[in-house]
Structures are given as C-alpha cells and as structure tokens.
Amino acid sequence: MNIATVPPAPLDSEPVTEPSKEQLLEISMGPQHPSTHGVFRMKVVLDGERVVRLKPVFGYLHRNHEKIAESVTYLGSMPYTDRLDYMCSITNNWGYALAVEKLAGIEVPERAEYLRVICGELTRLQNHACLIGFLMQDMGSTGTPLMYAFREREKILDLFESLTGARMMCNYMRFGGCRVDLPAGWLDRAKKVIADFPRFLDEYERLLVSNEILMDRTQEVGVLSRELAVSAGISGPMARASGVDYDIRKVDHYSIYDRFTFRVPLGSHGDVYDRFMVRLLEMRESVGILQQATRAIPAGPIVDPKMKIRGFRPKPGEAYGRIESPKGELGFYLISDGSPNPYRYRVRPPSLINLTVLEDLCLGRNVADIVAILGSVDIVLGEVDR
C-alpha cells in the first residue's frame, strides 16, 4: 500500500492504554551496535532519557572455550588463549603459562622473564592507548584520538610481528619460557619505540586531559564507590580509579616485577574521567618499566631446559594463577588428573566481572552516558563470552 493512501487516524480516537504518569520505554542496545565493542546487548528501560533499568545480555560470542581446552593438550590451548582478549594476546599467554607453571612447578629462566615483562608492558601500552581512543570515538570525537592511538599501536604491533610472526595472535609464551628469542636488532628498535612513546603521551594529554567537552561528558559520570568495587571483584585500572590500591604486579610479586621501580596510579572519584586518567598515567609507568627492562635484560636460555614439550603431563593437583592483564585480574584455574589434557580449565575473565556493576553505574544517567560508561569499563567480547 502506498503511504499516501493510508488514511490518517482520527484525532478523537481513544488511546489504547491509560496514559500513566511515567511512560517507560524498553529499548535494546546492541548486539549490532558499534559502541558496544562487539556483540554485546543491553536491555535498557528508559523513562524519557533517564535509565531506570539495564540488564546486560551475554553469550553472542560464546564458543565454550573451557570445554574445548579440556579436549586438547595443555599446549594445545595456548594459541586459543590469544583469541580471548584479542587486543592483548601476549598477556593472555602469560596468564595461562603462569598457571601451568604453578601447577607443574616449572622455573622460568631470567631472560625469559625479561622477555615476558617487555612484551607484556608493550601490550599494556597499546591496549590503554587504543582504549582511550575507542572511548573518545564512542563519545563522538570522530577519528583523531583513535587514529593517534592506532599510529602508536602500529609501531608496537610491528615489533610483535618481527618477534613472534603475528601482529595480534602472537602465541608467544611456552611453559617455562618463551617460544623464540629476539631477532637481531629488535631490542634497539624496541628502545626507539619506547623512547618515542612519551612524546605521544604528551601529545595525547595536551589533546584530551583538559578538554572541556571531555570533562563535561565524563566527570561525575558512572561513579563507582570503593566499597562496591571491592565487593564486586572489580580489578585493574577500573578498580584503581575508584581508589582501590590493588595491583597484582605489586601484590603477588609474580615474575620479576620486584626488580623495577614503578608507581600505581590511583583515582579518587571513581568516575569515567578517573578511569581515563588512570590509564594515561599507567602508560607512563609502563614506559618506565620498559626502559628499565630493556637496559637490564641478560643473556641466557629462554626456556627451562628440563621442560618437556612433548608428552607434558603434570602430576594430579590444581592451581590458580593470575596476572595483572591490561583489563584487570586475568586468572586461570587448572586441574590436572595426570593425563595430557587438563581435567578442568577455567578462565577468570576480567572483562566479564568488571561488567557486574554496569547497571549500578548507569542507573539515573542519560542514554548517552551509557556509551561513555561502557567504553570506560574496557571490555573485549572474546573474553566476556569465551
């Protein structure tokens, strides 16, 4: 039927329902919404512009990573951990390798620990830079901050490519060490990238930190209290923005983080702006760690010579290992029954658990704030849904 031929509704017709004082509108944000950073859906109930209820819906990217990992060997799931949080594959490898090393009691040579720290902190740099870019993109600053971040990320991914052969799916760690040693000249190139990085940070800070629109959109928005952050298991930069002084690099003393001096930036308001600032400051600390690590890296083997690659069967038992990934506390819980495959393999996904408080942060805010709040949580759906 042609639109022009549809008769208009009579003006004096009865309304179908009694008009109530507040009319609630239920909308579905996602799963194909660009600002949800993947296939993530929120069922939002609105009163005008105000959020009354918000229920996240998960599982669009679920492939039961844990079940798959239980049907292959221990080393077989190492490449698959790259696909969890595909922005930071190396820290995922590290978390898994750390848990297996705890389970089987494997020592890591010193040079391999340095390689892990260097790659892990480079991963943190590119994750935080990109996250800030995405957050700005979500809030409408089209292009510029994200492209600046991607320009820097490109340099770091080039380093990863020449080291591991892949830009994003690095598959770099092995139990008891790393897969390959540094190629010739890599360390000098890395030093140059690291030395140039503070200039990008200065530029980024000048562009964003005192930007009036950014402050208006983010300050006092999505405030997370310290008590709720601890109770809800929030970890990583999001918890530290709420003033929770908890950095697993400092608490667990894993790897060789004891040897480097770095500070843990803390926020005091717990709003979106603090989460953004904590990440900016963390990048400066990571640059400091990288400068110390690239200066001090020793020569030596990169993998424990006693480590058996083939026929690797840890003794029965269980272990929970965790690291400070760029998103938060990334943990792996493994149970061995003495066979070549893990009996139970569990990923503790920081992205999923940081979403526990999403509704609390968004209640009473406007629709446009949801996008900023979700952007500041820093999720990757490959890890949320597993």
């Binding site: 844990e66 389970l103 908890y246 929970y320 658990i353 526990t356």
Partner: protein, 210 residues
C-alpha cells in the same frame, strides 16, 4: 596464612559448622576448605568481616564436574563348585556416586593476602544440586554463579537473579558436564539454493539433458 589456623578460627567463631581440609598434591600448594551448605553463608560472612582475615575480594567462582565411577574389584571367596569347596574369584563393581564442586578463590584487598580456596559439594549431579549462593556476601559472585548454573546446573539458593548467562534461555542441558552430548536436532532450513537447483534441473531436462 596457614589453612589449619584459619579452619580452627572459623570453627571457634561459627558454631556448628563442619569444615574439611582438601589437600592439593600439586606444587602450587593451594589447599582448600570444604564447607557444608547449611553454614556456608555464615562462614563466608565471617571470612569477609573477621579483623585478622578480611577476605573481601572474591576473585574466581567456578564449578567442577566429578562424574560417578564404577570401580571393579576382585575378591576371592570360598564356594562349593561341583560338590567341591574351591576358591573362586568374584568380580564385583561398586558405584561411586558423582557430584559437582563449586570453588571460590578469595583474596584480601585490605591485608593483601590470599588465595583462600573454598569448596562446596552437591549431593549428586542431577537432582540434589542446590547450594547456598554467596552473592549476598560478595557481589562478584553474581555473574559467575549464573555461569556455573548455566554450564553445570548448580542451583544457587538466595541468588538475586539466577538465569542462564551464556546459553540462551530455551536451552535445556548444561554443556560443561563431562557427559554432555551435542544436540543433533538442528532443523534443516530450506534455502534458495534448492529452488535454484530445481529450476536448473528443470531447464536442463527441457533443453534435452545437456
């Protein structure tokens, strides 16, 4: 912190609770405490609030499936066979019932210690799978207990919003159980391909089988 000391401290402060140490032979040395369902919430609240412990950060919640096993054992018995008393080997099987474990990894943000591993155990794998929810104690268990419910089928009593997390609402089974079988009942969806193929075949037969 010594797990034995924590165990005796809880037993002194939560009357009536039954705790059991579960040893872990791995080099990680992360032994765990098995709680009874009745007193789990009281024990968890004590662990969170006690001044010396302050386990305020519940990091990880997950389930483990231990299916039932049939253990066969051979026993020799004296029996009368063909009018003579002989030693006969008899093979008997005893069924060990299965159960589900739910594991909690606790840390302390205030005291910076951990992990403390808590376990709860169901009676069996299918019907007696009700356990108390620890979400009222630690909010971080909210989504993770939903995940355990979804993938293992443990019902958490007292959970504010116990729905499936990763699978869709109409799904019936629990995929992380060891005896889970993939469904083979996906409906055959007709596609345009069949229509096109039929037309092509018709055209060919009309064109003389070329």
């Amino acid at each position: 912190m010594n797990l034995e000391a924590i165990k005796s401290e809880i037993e002194a402060n939560v009357p009536g609770c039954r705790l059991e140490l579960v040893a872990n032979p791995s080099p990680s040395g992360q032994h765990s405490l098995l709680l009874d369902g009745e007193h789990a919430v009281a024990v968890a609240t004590y662990l969170r609030d006690a001044a010396g412990l302050r386990f305020d950060f519940c990091s990880n919640v997950t389930g483990i499936d231990w299916p039932g096993k049939e253990v066969s054992q051979t026993a020799t018995a004296r029996k009368i066979v063909d009018g003579l008393e002989q030693e006969v080997e008899e093979v008997g099987t005893t069924a060990i019932p299965g159960y589900l474990d739910v594991v909690y990894h606790l840390y302390s943000v205030e005291k910076k210690h951990g992990p403390l591993v808590l376990r709860m155990r169901t009676q069996d794998r299918h019907s007696g799978v009700h356990l108390p929810s620890l979400t009222p104690v630690w909010r971080s268990a909210e989504l993770q207990e939903r995940e355990v419910f979804d993938l293992f089928g443990v019902f958490f009593e007292g959970h504010p919003d116990l729905r499936r997390l990763l699978m869709w609402p109409g799904f019936v089974d629990h995929p992380m159980l060891k005896d889970y079988v993939d469904p083979d009942d996906y409906e055959y969806e007709p596609t345009a391909h069949d229509v096109v193929l039929r037309r092509v075949n018709q055209h060919r037969s009309e064109a003389g089988g070329r």
